[in-house]
């Protein structure tokens, strides 16, 4: 099973604070910019990385989204080992 991260840490405390990540769909396409708060759990391989974005003319461009390691290293997420279901919150 893919590794998970749980958002939250010294730089993303519980409360009115949020951050966001670029969501990568399983097929590598862009799933939008997702707002998350402390406590949300997401599959690490859905977070950023190289995401193919389809342009209106049919061509594709690669978006280099920040990866799960970026959020962990910046004190806003932690690696999770438990068998938790990934969440995809949509609130602000």
């Amino acid at each position: 099973m893919a590794r998970l991260i749980r958002f939250g840490g010294p730089n993303l405390p519980v409360g009115p604070y949020s951050t966001w990540y670029d969501h990568r769909n399983p097929d590598g396409s862009y799933g939008g910019q997702i707002s998350v708060r402390a406590g949300h759990v997401v599959a690490a391989d859905r977070v950023g990385g190289e995401i193919a974005v389809e342009l209106k003319d049919g061509s594709t461009e690669t978006l280099h989204g920040k990866t799960a390691a970026y959020y962990v290293d910046s004190g806003r997420a932690n690696w999770v080992d438990e068998d938790e279901e990934p969440a995809r919150p949509v609130e602000g």
């Binding site: 730089n11 993303l12 409360g15 009115p16 604070y17 949020s18 951050t19 966001w20 990540y21 969501h23 799933g31 939008g32 910019q33 997702i34 707002s35 978006l63 280099h64 920040k66 970026y70 959020y71 806003r76 949509v90 609130e91 602000g92």
Partner: protein, 176 residues
């Protein structure tokens, strides 16, 4: 475009603001809470026009200046929002919890990242506007009165952030 009433959208926006992050990195943003009116994004464009001796109209026009401003009527009169509105350094605010002292001195050069999360037309109906580099440039008169709402109506200028490597140097709108 085909007629599609589901794409007519109305809805409040949640304004979140935090410290500036270079190169389009994700910031840690705080929800400012209640706002007393709509969040407003205004655009100001200037073009330089060129005329020709051989024509009576403008034959070429080149975009020469682009500006965006955000006006946010912040209803929750928390000290941190007053600090941001008045462009005070973080060190000018001391204390713990809600018991804070804000010492208002000279404004400093201070940038913020912010998002407005609102209604969109994508799969989940969420539209996220991300502003990479904001500067507070004005605050309307703050009212302290027996019938007055003490609120901070802050105008932010949207800067052109050339550290962002993608095309969205000012801001972006993402429907998901």
């Amino acid at each position: 475009m085909a007629l599609d009433a589901t794409n007519i959208i109305v809805g409040a926006g949640t304004f979140n603001i935090g410290a500036y992050v270079a190169a389009g990195g994700a910031g840690t943003l705080a929800d400012v809470g209640h706002t007393s009116a709509a969040n407003e994004l205004a655009a100001e464009f200037e073009n330089t026009d060129f005329e020709s001796e051989r024509a009576q109209g403008i034959v070429k026009t080149v975009p020469s200046k682009t500006g965006y401003t955000l006006k946010i009527p912040i209803m929750q009169a928390e000290s941190e929002m007053l600090r941001i509105a008045l462009a005070q350094p973080a060190a000018n605010q001391t204390g713990t919890g809600e018991n804070l002292t804000l010492r208002v001195g000279a404004r400093v050069e201070q940038y913020h990242q912010a998002t407005i999360v609102t209604t969109g037309v994508g799969t989940t109906g969420v539209r996220t506007l991300t502003f990479w580099k904001l500067q507070a440039i004005a605050v309307d008169a703050i009212q302290y009165g027996k019938n007055a709402l003490q609120q901070f109506i802050v105008t932010f200028r949207v800067m052109f952030d050339d550290s962002v490597t993608t095309a969205d140097k000012f801001w972006k709108s993402v429907d998901a």
